[in-house]
Subunit: 80 residues, 2 copies
Amino acid sequence: MFTAKIKVTLRKTILDPQGKTVEHSLKSLGYDKISNTRIGKYIEMKIDVNSKEEATVIAEESCRRLLSNPVMEDYEFEIT
Amino acid sequence: MFTAKIKVTLRKTILDPQGKTVEHSLKSLGYDKISNTRIGKYIEMKIDVNSKEEATVIAEESCRRLLSNPVMEDYEFEIT
């Protein structure tokens, strides 16, 4: 049994209005040293297979086929 | 200049219907070894201070005051 920890983020060239809004709110709270705030998704799942290689294949395909939008998003994951 | 990489996740005891839906879709695609899918937020931000300690304080306070809901969510972050 492995755990996949997946981050899906907007590509750098895509505007992130949600991130901008959060950053603005943080500045209103007095945190004015913060910049480049970007918001993405974090997905955790258990994968019940016997090898890390199999788990990696399943995580990779899940990201590519369902969890990310390949036009706008990048993904990375670690298997533990 | 430091980068904070923040994960905000639903507490284990809170139901995650979005995670259930994604898991169901993955099963429809044939990935039936996947379970316990949980979906959270991933936030990345630059913090322009001189020490890692200052950056940690700012990230911690941002998580506590704005980025997470302390009743339903946990957070963790790393500063690089």
